[in-house]
């Protein structure tokens, strides 16, 4: 057991089953002290289950867990916390209407005697932590007013506040900008230098190789391979994750581009975006790039009738239309896949079939009659086309993985047969395999003569898939790049260029 001093956390032969699924199969995993161990794998590979076992949310069926060489049975998250384990979730867990200090101290308040919270101690502790970590927030800020990246920092602060030395981060960069990613990585470096060990779940290759000391690849509940980061390359990792070779990540092909489908002129929503002009042709994939807060999503929300706009014109197929509601947008052949699929995409407790049929109920229920078979067949063939992995069509959507939920939402719109499809961050939080499937679907759709608008924060994706890319900065359009002008540098220049 002598060598165990270098091993902070060890899992041996962990298995876990859920009704009908073996989520983890004989998984062993070692986290070396003071290192970052990246866990990668497609959605449904078992990463989250493994992390939830470490955090005491699930109980393992078989296998042992060792912390500092000591065998432990982790009862619940509180027990995990006492063992020095902290988890920073993909969906951040905080109370938006409480202040920073209240969120930090939530659950372990400094007390005055038995009954009362010692607010002075709360303030003092928070100030000390903020200072120690070099974070510029006021302790009485309400978390609602902060953005995702700030809150992430505060989550880390919370972990530090109870001296966690095993910190698990579940896809921490899925909602933050590249600058914020750098800040996060600096923080991780600091934590490591203090002797903390990090488990980092991600499928973004560039960042994996930037921060990993060790990499473990999971697939279908099995550990495929574990390597030191220097011993393996990106291509191999992807292939191990997917379990097959991916020839071309961006399956872009020449498609005939013809008449104009959509033209937006002078679109303005006071205080949000101003004078937005763009157009999209049949068969085109048009990208929207920009930093967070550039207003891209807001423009799309107005175009789709989710928000109002103050002025400007929208023309579909050369005819000016007024879009006041989602129904208007759908009538005009516009569909939108939202960036926040949990909030705007799925109805979690409804089945796959019910979710997919949702936007086309008027197709399947006509004149008071439900064409059940028609609906079932349409949904099934769409699921097959989209390769939605689900046990049955009756399965409730919440139990599917993120990538499959995204495919369900896409399928919902495909059943509707829109002419113009707006995809807002279509590949956020989904794995490499599902990503390339979504790219292929995009190509199939434009081949059928549809038009696609993609809003994305992943530049390689925009550059790989788009015919043209519009770039926005703080509510203004700063430029448009043709296919041959597209490069990361060119886009970034426009993305930080301020108007006036």
């Amino acid at each position: 057991m002598a060598e165990n001093t270098a091993i902070k956390l060890e899992l041996k032969h962990i298995s876990k089953s859920f009704p009908g699924v073996k989520a983890l199969n004989d998984v062993s995993f070692q986290l070396r002290r003071g290192t970052t161990h990246v866990l990668c794998g497609e959605n449904g590979a078992g990463k989250s289950t493994l992390m939830k076992i470490i955090n005491g949310i699930y109980k393992e069926d078989e296998g042992d867990i060792f912390v500092d060489g000591q065998k432990v049975k982790i009862r619940d998250p509180l027990h995990a916390r006492n063992l020095g384990i902290a988890m920073i979730y993909q969906e951040l867990s905080f109370v938006p209407d409480l202040t920073l200090e209240e969120n930090i101290c939530l659950g372990h308040w400094p007390m005055k005697g038995k009954g009362a919270i010692d607010w002075k101690a709360v303030r003092k502790k928070t100030m000390e932590l903020l200072e120690q970590e070099g974070l510029p927030y006021a302790p009485d800020t309400k978390l609602r007013s902060l953005n995702v990246s700030d809150i992430q920092m505060i989550e880390i602060l919370k972990a530090v506040s109870f001296n966690a030395d095993i910190i698990i981060m579940d896809e921490p960069t899925s909602a933050i900008t590249s600058k914020e990613v750098e800040r996060l990585f600096e923080k991780i470096e600091q934590l490591k230098q203090r002797g903390a060990s990090i488990v980092y779940i991600s499928h973004k290759m560039d960042e994996i190789f930037q921060i990993a000391d060790d990499i473990t690849i999971l697939r279908d509940g099995n550990v495929i391979e574990t390597h030191e980061a220097g011993d393996i390359d990106e291509k191999t990792v992807i292939e191990l994750m997917v379990g097959r070779k991916i020839e071309n990540q961006y399956p872009k092909e020449e498609v005939e581009i013809s008449d104009e489908m959509l033209r937006v002129e002078g679109l303005t929503s006071e205080g949000t975006f101003h004078d937005i002009d763009f157009h999209v042709k049949r068969g085109e994939i048009v990208g929207f790039a920009g930093l967070m807060g550039a207003g891209r999503t807001e423009v799309m929300r107005s175009l789709f009738g989710l928000d109002r706009y103050d002025s400007g014109t929208i023309s579909v197929k050369g005819k000016e239309v007024r879009i006041k509601s989602v129904q208007d947008a759908i009538q005009n052949g516009i569909a939108m896949l939202s960036e926040d699929r949990r909030r705007y995409g799925i109805v979690p407790l409804l089945s796959v079939e019910e979710n997919i049929a949702l936007a086309a109920l008027d197709k399947f229920i006509r004149k008071g009659r439900w064409y059940k078979k028609e609906e079932f067949d349409a949904v099934r063939s769409m699921c097959e086309k989209m390769r939605v992995k689900t046990p049955t069509l009756e399965t409730k959507v919440f139990s599917l993985s993120g990538g499959n939920q995204q495919k369900v939402i896409l399928a919902k719109w495909m059943v509707r047969e829109p002419d113009i499809l707006i995809l807002d961050e279509p590949t956020r939080g989904i794995d490499v395999g599902a990503k390339s499937e979504i790219y292929q679907l995009m190509m199939e759709l434009v081949k059928q003569g549809k038009s696609i608008i993609v809003v994305s924060s992943e530049l390689p994706e925009l550059i790989g898939m788009c015919d043209r890319v519009y770039v926005m900065h703080e509510g203004y359009m700063t430029g448009m790049l043709e296919k041959n002008e597209l490069s990361q540098e060119a886009v970034m220049q426009l993305a930080v260029k301020s108007v006036q």
Binding site: P19, A329, V347, E354, I365, G368, F376, K389, T392
Partner: protein, 323 residues
């Protein structure tokens, strides 16, 4: 995996789908042994006749809760719509007039509920608490607080039978059949589940959320109106103080029937079974002469218990998910 996509529900769903029937049957067996008067046709028919009103109210409550709404006003609206209908019948003795007036009044109050909830964004709990007071007050005001008697053939609906089957039961069964159809086979019904399950996603899918909510209140209005007439007709008078706490029974029945308080889940058959369980429970307590105060305590405990079960089972469901 695509090949496995079939219409089969699987064993687990089968159990949870029919668990209410098992509970009802077991409960009835226990009751049969507990009291010899329980399993008699007179008693069972009586329970059905009594519960018909509650079942109709519960069906209204169900559609609202599925849509993420609520109605605390239905008991009072039964009283208000009922007495207005009785008074109208006394001047124009025609049952169609009676029905039209009862449904009209209940629809009006529920349109108000719907308006407050959709247009003014009042929480349903508060909006319908307000109309609860308004409707009860109005019922007492127009009758001067006195019961209205000598209602002639108005009582034919509530007290009559068609063969062995009481007319209220027939009306209730028609309402049930209509609701099964509405919830499963209409665009409105399907949209209701989506609105309650995730309002923002429903909106982003092109569903007119406010229209769905308004319609849910109007459907509730029709059910409450019919229930009002049946109630007054059964008790043979216009009772401005009648149907007190019926919203409580309707809610209990709905929750026991598997409608989830968080919205998006529920079905009419479950609601029927829930209402029968509540009805038989009240019945057996009466037969065994349980003190009426104790009965009230039991009813309170039951609804708390039902909600706990609902939340627990939902917890288990969702924690099973993120694999």
């Amino acid at each position: 995996m695509e090949k496995q996509m079939t219409l089969n529900k699987g064993k687990k769903n089968f159990l949870s789908k029919y668990s209410l029937i098992f509970i009802l049957v077991i409960f009835m067996i226990v009751c049969t042994f507990a009291n010899e008067n329980f399993l008699t046709s007179t008693n069972l028919i009586n329970v059905f006749r009594q519960q018909s009103v509650v079942i109709m109210l519960a069906l209204g409550e169900m559609i609202l809760i599925i849509a993420g709404l609520l109605d605390l006003s239905c008991g009072s609206v039964v009283a208000f719509a009922g007495v207005v209908s009785v008074l109208a019948y006394k001047s124009i003795p025609n049952l169609f007039v009676g029905f039209a007036v009862a449904i009209g009044v209940a629809l009006a109050i529920n349109a108000l509920n719907g308006l407050m909830v959709t247009k003014f964004k009042t929480p349903p709990f508060i909006a319908t608490l307000a109309t609860q007071a308004i409707a009860r007050g109005a019922a007492l005001y127009i009758t001067g607080g006195q019961n209205v008697y000598e209602i002639g053939d108005y009582n034919a609906v509530g007290q009559g039978s068609f063969g062995p089957i009481p007319i209220p039961v027939i009306i209730m069964l028609i309402a049930l059949a209509v609701m099964i159809y509405v919830m499963r086979y209409t665009r409105f019904g399907r949209s209701t589940y989506a609105v309650g399950g995730n309002e923002e996603a429903a909106n982003a899918s092109g569903i007119k959320v406010n229209a769905v909510k308004m319609k849910a209140y109007l459907v509730n209005g029709i059910l409450v109106g019919v229930a009002a007439l049946v109630f007054m007709s059964r008790v043979n008078g216009g009772l401005p103080n009648g149907a007190k706490d019926y919203e409580f029974d309707a809610l209990t029945a709905t929750i026991i029937g598997g409608t989830s308080f968080t919205g998006g889940v529920g079905n009419p058959i479950g609601t029927l079974l829930g209402a029968l369980i509540v009805g038989f429970l009240g019945n057996i307590m009466n037969l065994m002469s349980v003190d009426s105060y104790i009965q009230q305590i039991v009813r309170g405990a039951i609804i708390a218990f039902a909600v706990i079960i609902d939340i627990y089972s939902k917890d288990r469901q969702t924690s099973k998910s993120n694999k």
